[in-house]
């Protein structure tokens, strides 16, 4: 397992600008910075309703020095595909098309369009900024909200678990799927560059982006929370190529999930039994990921 560097240096183009409208310390804004600054100037972005849309706008201003098309909540992948198809016809197929969507716009209402685009293997980079809920509308539950979490729609704690979107996307057999988070920006930027340079086919990156307001996290603790998500095993960093080639970049570092949960207001109602249950589920998921990675590698190797 590769240790991710702590003193990082990320080559960035000056595309995402300061002065945008995100809450101070917002994880989504931090992710947008590394994503668009890595994608580069020859990129057209598609953004659905989400905090990202607020961060992008408002008219006549733009926080990004690239064309941004704001689409509807469920249409990001299809909108991005339409741009790419037109660019191909114009002989500008090298221009990158980037969808920047929230978890609600990806796991839930936009999933049909995303799955369709993955099946057609549209030549786009799709980045999901996962803050585990509908934050723009006030922190309601989405399919990305974790088990037992408080949201405005699940005031007693969410009774079901988080969808496993990286595995769902990997099972489409697309060229690239990766998880990332803002606390490991060099890993994030590397993955975006890799996706960008692959060219051809749908490349999907899901970035865990702490939402301070929605998670009940202190303004200056977003990055710490993001790193804890990885180091407790709740958000392993890994890549899957063509649905079969797994690379695990960083998994749990022996820190109990309680260390992560206690940093956030949205978990303050948890009982010791509930925390125990989340620990169990996290351990199991990590085992399963490792097993899947080695098993898929074996089967793929045998088939070769």
């Amino acid at each position: 397992m590769a240790e991710t560097k702590k003193n990082y240096q990320i080559p960035e183009e000056d595309i995402f600008l300061s002065g945008h409208a995100a809450c101070p310390g917002c994880g989504e804004a931090l992710a947008v910075r590394y994503v668009v600054n890595t994608m580069g100037e020859d990129t057209i972005a598609v953004v659905p309703p989400s905090c990202i849309a607020i961060i992008s706008g408002p008219q006549p201003y733009s926080s990004m020095k690239i064309p941004v098309y704001q689409t509807t909540l469920e249409a990001s992948a299809a909108s991005a595909a339409g741009i790419k198809r037109a660019l191909i016809r114009q002989g500008k197929g090298d221009t990158n098309v980037l969808a920047l969507a929230g978890d609600g716009g990806t796991y839930d209402i936009g999933f049909q369009a995303l799955s369709g685009a993955a099946e057609r293997n549209e030549d786009i980079v799709y980045v999901c900024l996962d803050n585990e809920g509908y934050m723009n509308t006030g922190a309601q539950k989405s399919g990305a909200s974790p088990h037992l979490v408080y949201t405005a729609f699940t005031p007693g704690g969410k009774p079901t678990t988080k969808k496993n979107i990286p595995e769902i996307m990997a099972s489409h057999g697309i060229p690239y799927v990766a998880t990332a988070t803002t606390g490991f920006p060099d890993d994030l930027a590397r993955k975006v560059a890799k996706a960008r340079d692959m060219k051809g086919g749908l490349r999907f990156i899901v970035v865990l982006t702490p939402c301070l307001a929605g998670w009940g996290v202190k303004d200056n603790e977003g990055v710490k929370v993001s790193r804890l998500a990885v180091d407790t095993g709740l958000w392993p960093l890994y890549e899957v190529e063509n649905g079969v080639k797994y690379t695990i970049n960083r998994g749990p570092q022996g820190i109990p999930v309680s260390e992560y949960l206690k940093t956030q207001g949205r978990y303050k109602h948890l009982t010791p039994e509930m925390i125990e249950q989340i620990q169990r589920e996290t351990d199991e998921a990590w085992e399963l990921l490792q097993a899947r990675a080695s098993c898929v590698a074996e089967v793929a190797g045998a088939a070769r």
């Binding site: 941004v68 704001q70 016809r89 049909q112």
Partner: protein
């Protein structure tokens, strides 16, 4: 810099020449679309639209049509992709019907707001529930407030020609356009159709090359949050463009007639209305039958005419007032129904006559809802009924 790809695959010159073919109404649309050289076509199947897009796939395979085809996973995505492809600066096409059109609804507003001149063929079919596959125009008519131009046609030839005109009009006013014909009566009926030559269509329809587009060189964006005043200005601007449509369609039709020898009267057509005591008003396939009914009644010495409406959105109020001035009675026969409001055309027509010095009486008959057959004899009967009774404000089930 031209945004349009110039090299094209070589096609047998005979296929590029004017051709006389026996075609279903839907296939006539496909050939019309082919001649307009769209660059991106997004498609999703629904009866009775499927022959349009299946033929397009065949034409692409044979090399006659050179475009990116996106087989979307839904009509919603098909329309979403059409919007962005058009915003990127290329000509696009899609087709749908009924439930598919309704799934697109959100994106129809989005398209007109983005001022993209998409042309979409719609095959009018009943809406569930309950399920049906019958000709009924309620599907497109219920999209009347989405900011799309709507033109209704009665034959495959008219649909083919109107698709070409629709691109011309839409790309001038930067608004999307629906060309609608009815399920089966038109969509699946075979008729001899003239497919104009590629050269002639190229001369009629210039390449689409918008100044504003999604382009990393231009760095223009679209869709950002705006304030109330900007929204007001945007809609006011859209309205101004909408209001140019009747004139643009009239001109497009006249130029088409001069170049191709076929015209349809532009926004509407008057048939044998001289000295008429009453005129049937309708749109779509029922007008074909109405012509027969008018001929029969004229042969019997009755003064009856037909006003066929082609442009429904925007409703050509001026042309309609002018067309019906002096006709004492109008009888609208419809194949659509808006619960609580009656026939769409009946409503529209009554409103359009407001302010006329001596407006005609207007009868509204829900004659063909759900695709029930309205024969020429039935139309004669209904015309006689109208002549014998006083009109009421509501549309009547006959």
């Amino acid at each position: 810099m031209s945004a349009v790809k110039t090299e094209r695959p070589t096609v047998d010159p005979e296929l590029l020449a004017e051709r006389r073919m026996l075609l279903k109404g839907n296939h006539a649309v496909s050939y019309g679309v082919m001649r307009c050289r769209p660059e991106v076509i997004a498609m999703y199947p629904i009866t009775p639209q499927t022959p349009i897009v299946e033929k397009i796939a065949d034409l692409q395979l044979s090399g006659e049509l050179d475009a990116e085809i996106m087989t979307a996973e839904s009509e919603h995505s098909a329309m979403s992709a059409c919007i962005t492809a058009s915003l990127t600066g290329v000509r696009v096409f899609t087709a749908t019907a009924s439930q598919g059109l309704f799934l697109m609804h959100e994106m129809l507003h989005y398209a007109s707001g983005a001022r993209v001149p998409i042309v979409m063929a719609c095959v009018n079919r009943t809406l569930g529930s309950p399920w049906g596959f019958w000709p009924d125009q309620t599907d497109t008519l219920a999209q009347r407030d989405t900011g799309w131009i709507q033109i209704y046609t009665e034959s495959g030839q008219e649909s083919l020609d109107t698709i070409i005109m629709a691109y011309k009009v839409a790309e001038q006013c930067l608004l999307p356009a629906i060309v609608a014909h009815e399920a089966f009566y038109v969509s699946h009926a075979l008729e001899p159709v003239t497919v104009p030559s590629q050269e002639n269509v190229d001369a009629y329809l210039p390449p689409f090359n918008p100044i504003h587009r999604l382009d990393t060189g231009l760095k223009e964006s679209w869709g950002n949050v705006i304030n109330q005043e900007m929204f007001y200005r945007h809609r006011k601007d859209m309205d101004a463009s909408m209001m140019t449509v009747p004139g643009l369609l009239q001109a497009a039709d006249e130029e088409y007639a001069a170049r191709f020898g076929r015209g349809y009267g532009g926004v509407l057509e008057k048939y044998r209305c001289e000295d008429a005591d009453i005129a049937i008003v309708g749109f779509g396939a029922m007008c074909g039958t109405a012509r027969e009914a008018v001929d029969k009644m004229r042969a019997a010495g009755e003064k009856v005419g037909l006003v066929k409406i082609r442009l429904y959105r925007p409703f050509p109020i001026g042309a309609v007032q002018e067309a019906v001035a002096g006709i004492p009675r109008l009888v609208v026969m419809e194949r659509n129904y808006s619960p609580g409001a009656g026939g769409f055309l009946h409503q529209e027509l009554k409103a359009a006559l407001y302010g006329m010095a001596d407006p005609p009486l207007v009868h509204g008959y829900l004659a063909g809802v759900g695709g029930v057959n309205v024969s020429d004899d039935r139309m004669v009967e209904l015309t006689h009924k109208a002549l014998a009774e006083q009109p009421v404000p509501e549309s009547i089930w006959v």
